[in-house]
Symmetry: C2
Subunit: 243 residues, 2 copies
């Protein structure tokens, strides 16, 4: 509870954040372990919580992420709102709500956000009711709290659809990257293997991936050329090129 | 108020519907005139209202559209949730809420849906607090209630972005259409003129627009060939063609 009457938690509306990163050839999602832990299996969750009545949804998403994981200064994009009246049915979830919320029985609609970040640029530090904050490869995510598996899956489908008209892939890569790394990001998001020659030909034809006069350093194999993404060529470029 | 305790309006969550149609070379939006009318100018609004606590968001969107306009059996797609604490500031809106709502001071988050339909297939009939239900060309929309101008504009931007990877354009056209009609839909959504020869060449190259062995009937000019959209060629087709 805070000082002014406007600054109260809204019992009916929450935000949840799907933070995705690319690391060691894998796409990972940032999860928190909820405190109090419900069982010996642990209770993994997306970082989310109720909104305050005097903040916007975007502000709430940023604040909650910051409070639970210490991560700030990233761009969070709203992607879907989940409001099934049966969102909260697991015994463990209901008990957790009774322990921490003023209105544990209230129906909660959650507005979900996602972000794509470079894992090595952020160091999550758990706080508030997050006992732990960890990166988990999306392929290895097991049962999450509430409907958080559904929220994560929807985020991944959305990222897949956005891959073609937003510069999604480059948010996950370092500033300078190889075409093999770029192809790997596309393959993971699209869940399919791509032909190397075709991929290189088409991605270079777009004009927004530019070769640098630089090669990889400190690799055992033959160093590959580094590339960078040119935002100014992407804006409208991919779209206008259709017609 | 209804019979069961679960079946109550949630004071904090509403749905709003942006129904777009194509007619006479224009994109139009379905608006309702609110009753009681707030001023002599009328109060035009998107068809929306609070949700019940025992229905999903999708169900609420369908129900509200049906109750206000009589339109049912259309696919409504959720596209964004609007939750600025300052969404409701106009004097006229506040007075209207006091007249019709049990908790007029409650902060309302609204989940917005859109749909693209063929105008000639639906006949809106106003009811509930809709005194009128009318199609208004989007270019001619003036001040709407609450933040409904913002919601409409966001829907139009979303439709623009989806045009390239979803079969948006064909939802607005009759089953059999001319390439001139198709081009007009693209031009309106993209807010730009397209080169006729380029457009035809590229759209036919996609493979999902097929010529029929039929021509326009009853036109004064030379009748144009009719085409149809082949959904089976679109699925994945536009996307996979990138790589």
């Amino acid at each position: 509870m805070r000082e002014t009457s406007n600054h109260e938690l809204n019992p009916n509306v929450s935000v949840d954040n799907v933070i995705l990163g690319f690391d060691d050839d894998e796409i990972k999602v940032l999860l928190i372990e909820r405190q109090p832990a419900g069982s010996s299996n642990g209770s993994l969750a997306l970082p989310g919580n109720l909104i305050y009545d005097d903040e916007t949804l975007d502000q709430a998403a940023k604040r909650v992420l910051m409070e639970l994981t210490g991560i700030s200064d990233i761009y969070l994009q709203q992607f879907h709102t989940f409001g099934d009246p049966g969102r909260i049915t697991k015994k463990q979830d209901i008990e957790w709500l009774k322990a921490v919320r003023a209105h544990p029985e209230a129906r909660v609609i959650t507005v979900a956000y996602f972000s794509l970040i470079r894992i090595d640029e952020y160091e999550p530090t758990p706080s508030a009711f997050a006992k732990n904050a960890i990166w988990v490869p999306v392929d290895e995510v097991k049962s999450l709290v509430f409907d958080h598996n559904e929220i994560l899956n929807k985020a991944l489908v959305d990222v897949q659809q956005k891959l073609y008209h937003q510069p999604i892939a480059f948010k996950l890569l370092p500033e300078k990257f190889t075409l093999a790394q770029l192809q790997r990001v596309y393959e993971i998001i699209l869940q399919t293997e791509l032909d190397k020659r075709n991929f290189r030909r088409k991605i270079l034809k777009t004009g927004f991936v530019l070769p640098l006069d630089e090669k990889q350093q400190g690799v055992a194999h033959k160093p590959a050329t580094l590339y960078m993404f040119d935002q100014s060529k992407f804006n409208g470029g991919l779209q206008v090129s259709h017609f």
